[in-house]
C-alpha cells in the first residue's frame, strides 16, 4: 500500500503536477485569462450587453400616452399569437427550404468543377461567380428590381417582342422566388469559395491512391471529395439558416417597387424593423427580435443535429 502510494506519487510527479507548484506553471496558467480578456470585454460590451438590454426592453411597454410600464411577459404572449409575426416566420422558413438547397447544390457543383482542374480560365470563372457577393445588396436589389420590371424590364420587353406572356416577377406568387433568385445570385459565390477552399486541403496522395485503385473522376468526387466537404457544408448550411431567417435587405428594397406585395411584416426581421421605426413600438420590436433569435438558434441546432445524425447513421 505504501509502495503503491509512493509509486503513484512518483508517477504523478513524472507525469506532471497534480497540485500546482510554485513558479512557472502558476504564471503560465494565469496568463490564459489575460489573453482571452480582450475578447471577453468586447463580447460583453458588444454582444451580451445589447442582448441583455433587448431582453430588458421586451419586458416593458412604452406608450405615447401614459409612458412606460412593466408588463412582464405580455409582449411575448402577444407575439406568439400575432398572425403577422407567424406569417413572417413561416415565409422565411419556406424561403429557407426552397432557396438554400438550390444555392448550396450550385455552390457545390461550381466548387467541384473548379477543383477538377478541367476548366479553362478557372480563375476568371471563379472570380466571376464570386463577384456578386462583393456587390452591396442594396445595389443588387436595385439592379434586379429593374430587371424584374413589369413595363420596362428587359425580360418583360423581350417577352413582349416575342409575343409571349409577360412574366410578372414582382407579383404575389412570384415574389418569394424572385427574392430567392437575388439571394442565390449574391451568395452562391461566397459559399463556393468556402467549399473550394475545403477541397484544396485534401491531400494529393489520396487522389493518387484512388487512381491506383482504378477510381474515375466521378468516383473520386463521390467517395473522397464529398466526405471531405462535410464540415464545410455544415458551415455554409449554418450561415444560410441565419441568413434566411434574418432576411431583410432584399425585401426591404423591393418593397419600394412592389408595395402591394411586400408588406411591412413580409419577413420577421422586416416586421421588427417596422414596429420600431414606423410604429414606435420599441419594446414589442425587441420582443419580436428576441423570439426570432430563439427561432434561429433552434433551427440552427436542428439542422446541425440532423446533419450529424446522418453522419453516424
Amino acid at each position: 500500500m505504501t509502495a503503491t502510494t509512493a509509486a503513484s506519487a512518483k508517477g504523478r510527479r513524472r507525469d506532471g503536477p497534480a497540485r500546482p507548484r510554485r513558479g512557472g506553471t502558476r504564471r503560465r496558467r494565469s496568463a490564459g485569462p489575460l489573453f482571452v480578456a480582450p475578447f471577453m470585454v468586447l463580447f460583453l460590451l458588444l454582444f451580451l450587453a445589447p442582448l441583455g438590454y433587448a431582453a430588458y426592453l421586451s419586458l416593458f411597454q412604452e406608450r405615447l400616452i401614459g409612458g412606460t410600464a412593466f408588463v412582464g411577459f405580455d409582449n411575448y404572449v402577444r407575439a406568439l399569437k400575432d398572425p403577422q409575426l407567424l406569417h413572417g416566420v413561416g415565409r422565411v422558413a419556406l424561403f429557407f427550404a426552397i432557396q438554400v438547397p438550390v444555392m448550396l447544390v450550385l455552390a457545390l457543383l461550381f466548387a467541384l468543377a473548379l477543383d477538377s482542374g478541367l476548366l479553362r480560365l478557372a480563375r476568371v470563372i471563379r472570380l466571376g461567380i464570386f463577384i456578386p457577393y462583393a456587390v452591396p445588396s442594396v445595389v443588387a436589389a436595385l439592379m434586379w428590381g429593374y430587371l424584374y420590371g413589369r413595363d420596362f424590364g428587359p425580360f418583360a420587353q423581350m417577352s413582349r417582342n416575342l409575343d409571349l406572356p409577360v412574366p410578372d416577377f414582382l407579383s404575389d406568387g412570384w415574389m418569394l422566388g424572385s427574392l430567392a433568385n437575388i439571394v442565390t445570385w449574391e451568395f452562391v459565390g461566397y459559399n463556393m469559395i468556402i467549399l473550394y477552399a475545403a477541397l484544396r486541403t485534401v491531400p494529393q496522395e489520396l487522389y493518387e491512391a484512388a487512381g491506383m485503385d482504378g477510381a474515375g473522376a466521378w468516383r473520386i468526387a463521390w467517395s473522397i471529395k464529398l466526405p471531405a466537404l462535410r464540415s464545410a457544408l455544415q458551415l455554409t448550411l449554418l450561415f444560410s439558416v441565419i441568413g434566411s431567417f434574418q432576411l431583410f435587405n432584399e425585401p426591404n428594397l423591393l418593397m419600394k417597387i412592389a408595395p402591394d406585395v411586400i408588406s411591412s411584416s413580409y419577413t420577421a426581421n422586416l416586421y421588427a424593423y417596422s414596429l420600431a421605426f414606423t410604429g414606435n413600438q420599441v419594446n414589442y420590436a425587441a420582443t419580436v427580435s428576441f423570439l426570432l433569435g430563439l427561432v434561429i438558434v433552434i433551427a440552427s441546432y436542428a439542422v446541425l443535429l440532423t446533419a450529424n445524425r446522418r453522419r453516424t447513421a
Partner: protein
Amino acid sequence: MSRFLATPSSAALSRRGFLAATGALTLATTLSACGGDDTGGGAPAKRVSQADIDKAMKTPTELTFWTWVPNIDKEVALFRQKYPAIKIKVVNAGQGVAHYTKLRTALKAGSGAPDAVQIEYQAIPTFTITGSLLDLSPYGATALKNKFVDWTWGQVSGPKGEVWAIPQDTGPMGMLYRKDIFDQHKIDVPETWDEFAAAARKLHKADPDVYLTNLAANEAAAWHGLLWQAGARPYVTSGKSNIAIDVDAPASRMLGQFWGDLAKEGVIGTEPDFADSWYAALNKGKYATWITAAWGPAFLSGSAKATSGHWRAAPLPQWDSANPSSGNWGGSTTAVTKDSKNPIAAALFAQFLNSDPASAKMFATEQFFFPATKALLTDAEFVGSAPSFYGGQKVNQVFADVSSTLNSRFQWPPFLDQAATDWTETVGKSLADRTDTVRALGAWQSRLTAYAKTQGFTVTT
C-alpha cells in the same frame, strides 16, 4: 417637398422614406392641429423681452440645424449677414424617415439633438405629442401670422396659440396633363371628378397603352391630400390623449368608391411612384396626367425631359364645382427643439429663414420651392414665370390660385407613419389588387384604431 429632390435610389432606400421621397402632406387645420404639449396648458408662454433678444443675437453662438434642403447655405448666409455673431452648422441627417428616426433617437437620449430642424407639416403632431418642440410664440412668432397663407398657419399652431414651427414651403394639389394626348383623343380638361372618370374610360379604350393617370398604391400622402380636398376629417385630436379616427367616413368612402372603380376597371395605373418604372412611364407617355402638388411642375421638368413642351397645369377636378377646393401634399417647416440651449437664437433663425422676404424668395428661385408666404404668391416675378416645359403657361399662377382654396380644418394624427403604412397595406393594396377599396377602408380604420389604443389613446370614431 424637399423630398422631391430625393434621388430615386435614395428614395428607395427607406421603406417609409416613401413619405419622404414623396413629400408630405400638410394641412391647414384648425388650431388644434397639434395636440397640446405636455406642460398641460395654462396661460400662453410669456413674451421674451426685446432686450434679451438683442443681447442673445449679439452673443457668439453656434446653432446646429438639421435639414435635407439642398444648397440651403445660401439662405443661411443671408441670416449670417444680419446676425454675424450666430454661426449655423448645417447637418444633413437624411431625408424624411431617416431624419425623423435620428431626431427621435437624439431627443430620447437627451443629447445630440439639433437646435433648429426641418419638419414636414404632417410630422409636427408626432413631435408635439412627445413635448419635443419649443413654442415659438414668446419669441415674436405670433406677429408673423399674417405673412403666411392662412391654412399653413393653422398647420403650425396649437390650440392655445402656440406656434410650433414656421412654414417654409407648401404643396397645394393640382393636375399636370399632357396637352398633346388630350388633343389627339379630343379630351377636354376634366373640371369635375365625373368628367375625369369618363375621360379615363374613353382614353384607355382609345389607346390601351395609355392611362389617364396613375394613382400610386404606395402614396398615402397623395390620398390624404385628396381626402383633404373632399372635406374629410379623418383625424381629430382633442386634448392630449383623445383622438377621433374616421378614415372610412362618407367622404372617404366616396373617394374609395371612385378610385376603386377606376382601378378595378383597369383604366388607371396604380404603380408605385418615384420608382424607375414610373419615371420611364412619365417619359414615354403612358400616363396623360399626374395628380400632384405645387412642387410637381419643377420636379417633372427635371424628371421627364423627353416630354418638354407637352405638359400643362390645371386645378384638380372638383366634387363640387360651386365650391372649388384642394388638398395639400408636401412642404415643410422649421422648428426648434425643446432641448435647445439657445432658444432665442434658434427661434429667430427659424423665423428669419422663412419670413425674411429675401430668404423666402430665395427658396422659390434657388430650390424651386412653392412658397408659404402671401407676399410671394402675389409676387409678379414668381407667378409670372412661364417655363417652356409647360408651353409658356404660368404654372405658378395656377397653383397660387389653388392655394387659397384649401380649407384650414384638416388635421394630422400624432402617428402618421403608422397611418401611412396601414393605408398602403389595406387601401393601397386593394387598388393594386383590384379588390374592394371601400371594404379596405374599413380594414384601415380598424388597424389604425387598434394601434391608437395600444399607444394609450382614447379613441372615438
